[in-house]
């Protein structure tokens, strides 16, 4: 009973933090809670959250993926090239997702079969994919892609007042929550992070589960890239730089252990919302972007320290 109570508090920790943050910012500035600002907030959060959902799978297997930003850029550039070449823009989004799966899959294969430490493997592919993007685009943005309204809606549109990127985020959340909590694949993801040895001896297909996690993260990064590209109607070769850190921060803020095996995707959603709220709130409060970085770092530290204490 006691254990359940502390467990619940621990799970609710990030949520309480998010609510506190809301209250503080709202009390300092009225316009924060405006419907238009909240919509804006969700739109901003969605990109980081979508990537962080994949990152959650990877981190639960005791891995890490530093290449998400580069995958985002490369898949976007390829997508933009397809569109410029005349491909139906909606089909091009699906193709971009496919590219993301392949690039993430390569990460997974190198890590699973090559037995390269995830940090090193994705550090290398981060550089390679970024370089490939620059080569592919010759260092220039691919702009003025299309006038297709459906494509533009993917990044900018609303349905029933909700931004479509936010809907994409919530849909991915629901699907991935189901996979993680309700399928044997999800259970095995946790098991590998809990103990790779035990899992191996228990006959779990460790390599496949790992490759799935990285391929999934690649796909989600590509989808996030498609959202950005749609919004700008342009693919930037430098897109997504540093996104890996925001994604990792969201996962960690949500209470998932970097050692693997412990955590949940609900926390990641809340973690992404915390980071997004901080960004948005500090902007509204007119805090200089230099200070924003310091505040963000301190919040991450406090959250992790608080988590340690409870454990």
């Amino acid at each position: 009973m006691n254990r359940n109570v502390t467990d619940t508090i621990k799970k609710l920790g990030p949520l309480i933090g998010l609510i506190a943050l809301f209250i503080i910012i709202a009390s300092l500035n009225d316009s924060f809670l405006d419907f238009s600002n909240l919509r804006n907030l969700l739109r901003q959060v969605s990109i980081n959250a979508i990537i962080a959902f994949g990152m959650t799978f990877v981190i639960l297997t005791a891995g890490i993926d530093l290449s998400v930003g580069s995958i985002l850029a490369l898949s976007s550039a390829i997508m933009a090239n397809f569109i410029v070449g005349g491909m139906n823009p909606e089909v091009a989004i699906v193709a971009a997702a496919g590219v993301g799966i392949i690039l993430g899959g390569i990460n997974g294969i190198v890590i699973a079969y090559g037995k390269v430490a995830p940090f090193i493997a994705t550090l290398a592919t981060m550089t390679i994919y970024r370089g490939a993007t620059l080569v592919f685009t010759d260092g220039n943005p691919i702009s003025g892609l299309t006038t297709d309204p459906t494509f533009h809606a993917f990044g900018q549109g609303d349905i029933a007042g909700l931004p479509i990127p936010a809907i994409t985020m919530f849909l991915s959340f629901l699907i991935l929550w189901f996979v993680l909590q309700k399928t044997s694949l999800g259970r095995q993801t946790y098991a590998i992070g809990g103990s790779e040895k035990v899992s191996y001896i228990a006959g779990i297909k460790i390599n496949r589960v790992k490759i799935f996690a990285y391929a999934l993260t690649g796909m989600l990064s590509a989808i996030a890239g498609a959202i950005i590209t749609s919004r700008l109607n342009s693919a930037q070769p430098t897109a997504g730089m540093g996104y890996e850190l925001d994604a990792i921060a969201a996962v960690v803020l949500g209470g998932t252990s970097l050692a693997g095996g412990r955590g949940h995707i609900v926390g990641t959603l809340i973690g992404a919302l915390i980071i997004g709220t901080l960004n948005n709130g500090l902007n509204i409060l007119d805090v200089s972007s230099f200070y924003q970085q310091i505040v963000k770092g301190i919040v991450i530290l406090l959250a992790v320290l608080g988590d340690r204490k409870k454990a």
Binding site: S184, R187, G194, K197, V198, I201, A202, G203, I204, R262
Partner: protein, 493 residues
């Protein structure tokens, strides 16, 4: 120099490892310390060198009562312990290893590598050994590492050198060098304690043999006045009481044949067979290679050649997954490292290898999983309020039951059990023995690796004895006596 240990007793928690130990070590004497695994040999030496504190008894050195507070202090006084697991820094050179704790420095306090190299070279020449002093220790052979360790000890002017199974990992040539060094030490008046399971070595190299059993010193005799048989009897000398349930199953036809299996880094190949409903005990000393053989069969570690035939079908397991599919289960000796995810609930641990079977659609059904785990947990008598509690909340015996439960859920036809009752209490042991009997009566075959001789004798239909990576013999239950097993396990006839 004479060291006398009298009436030494030591308990770890409720486990009384040493009860009443008396031993005398003399300068210029090689003293063999023998006994089964767990007899208390290492604990005794750890007390002498100050790692543990004795609960009772006295240690006198040349008549003066002495206790050391740490192995480092003991070393300073000339008593050095060379452990089986060598204390080396694999990333440093042998030379750096030799001098890390007692470096030579020049007047500026900087390391004087030249002086160290010269001294070490001179010492090597004196001992007539050839060591690549500047080579990274991790890249040297175990024998070279060990010689460096002995050299280090010598440079401390050690008067007593304790060696724990020094020859276990050495080649024949390296062993010969080791013995030559031991004889040289002896000539210099050093007292040597030689912990070993190898009869031939003990009888050729030692002067006195002390046998320990169950925390007592059973006998101390000069080598010349005793025989291998006598030592073996002293080592095992206990009768198997009524603790083990009767074996009622008669083994059927051969179900598994292992032929010419060569686990990696084995010199020999392994062949044996297993019958339906049989318990095949696998005995041998620590480090004989029993676990490695089992891991190779199950596909955890790779092997070079050999055939495994299950019910007439040749099989090749590349990974545990393949073995599991073929109906083989593996209960590891490393319960915490390989058997359980301690953070996971008892239920999640039990269902881990069974997810596909319980939820064929891959969508988890909470109720089904709970029922599956709960019924297995109850069947094995795991003492817990709920299978939702984490595995880490259980005692060792109950954790072991959870490990067994997760494998029984797969209804395997063969179960490999590596040290199934290690470190668990008597009640849980008996439960596991009863379960083994029940399983074999249902036609399941069990391979049981065990370091506890009474357990091997009490539960096995046949006993396979492994000695230095080879099958030394397979004994029928009627012929499996403690003496026969220990003889084979120590390389005797």
């Amino acid at each position: 120099m004479e060291i006398k240990m009298t009436g030494i007793a030591k308990a770890f928690g409720t486990n009384q490892v040493l009860k009443d130990v008396n031993i005398t070590l003399k300068a210029g004497e090689v003293h063999a310390l023998m006994g089964e695994n767990g007899a208390g040999k290492s604990t005794l030496m750890n007390i002498l060198t100050g790692l543990h504190k004795a609960d009772a008894g006295t240690i006198t050195i040349d008549g003066v009562t002495t206790t050391y507070s740490s192995p480092r202090e003991a070393e300073k006084h000339g008593i050095a312990f060379i452990h089986q697991e060598l204390n080396i820094w694999p990333n440093l050179s042998l030379l750096e290893n030799l001098y890390l704790m007692q470096p030579k420095t020049n007047s500026l306090g900087m390391l004087n590598r030249q002086a160290m190299l010269q001294e070490a070279k001179a010492k090597c020449e004196e001992m007539k050994i050839d060591l690549p002093l500047t080579k990274e220790a991790g890249l040297c052979s175990v024998g070279q590492q060990q010689m460096a360790e002995i050299l280090r000890v010598l440079m401390l002017n050690a008067k007593v050198v304790i060696m724990d199974e020094p020859s276990a990992a050495l080649t024949e040539r390296e062993t010969a060098t080791l013995f030559r060094m031991m004889r040289q030490l002896k000539e210099h008046g050093v007292a040597i304690v030689y912990i070993s399971h190898r009869m031939e070595e003990v009888f050729s190299e030692c002067d006195v043999i002390t046998v320990m059993r169950d925390g007592h010193t059973i006998s101390t005799k000069p080598v010349k006045e005793t025989t291998v048989d006598e030592v073996v009897r002293d080592m095992v000398g206990r009768s198997i009481d009524e603790f083990y349930p009767d074996r009622t199953t008669t083994p059927g036809d051969v179900i598994l044949t292992v032929k010419g299996l060569k686990p990696k880094e084995f010199k020999n190949t392994i062949s044996f067979d297993l019958r339906k409903g049989e318990i095949l005990g696998v005995a041998g000393l620590m480090g004989a290679g029993r676990t490695e053989i089992m891991r190779a069969i199950f596909g955890i570690d790779s092997h070079e050649g050999g055939e495994i035939t299950l019910q007439g079908k040749p099989l090749h397991f590349k990974k545990p997954e393949d073995a599991i599919k073929a109906g083989i289960a593996f209960i590891t000796e490393d319960r915490k490292g390989e058997g359980l995810i301690l953070d996971f609930s008892i239920g999640s641990n039990i269902t881990l290898p069974n997810l596909k079977q319980v939820c064929p659609t891959h969508v988890l059904n909470k109720n089904k999983l709970f029922d599956f785990a709960d019924s297995l947990s109850k069947k094995l008598g795991v003492k817990t309020q709920s299978v939702h509690l984490p595995a880490s909340s259980l005692s060792g015996g109950n954790q072991q039951k959870v490990v067994i439960a997760k494998w029984i859920g797969l209804s395997p036809s063969i179960i490999i059990m590596d040290e199934p009752t290690r470190g668990i209490d008597i009640g849980a042991k008996r439960d596991i023995y009863d379960l083994m009997n029940e399983l074999t009566s249902q036609g399941v075959s069990i391979i049981m690796v065990s370091s506890e001789l009474p357990e091997v004798l009490g539960m096995s239909d046949r006993v396979m004895v492994i000695h230095e990576g080879a099958v030394a013999g397979i004994l029928d239950r009627s012929k499996a006596t403690p003496e026969a097993i220990m003889n084979l396990a120590t390389g005797g006839q």
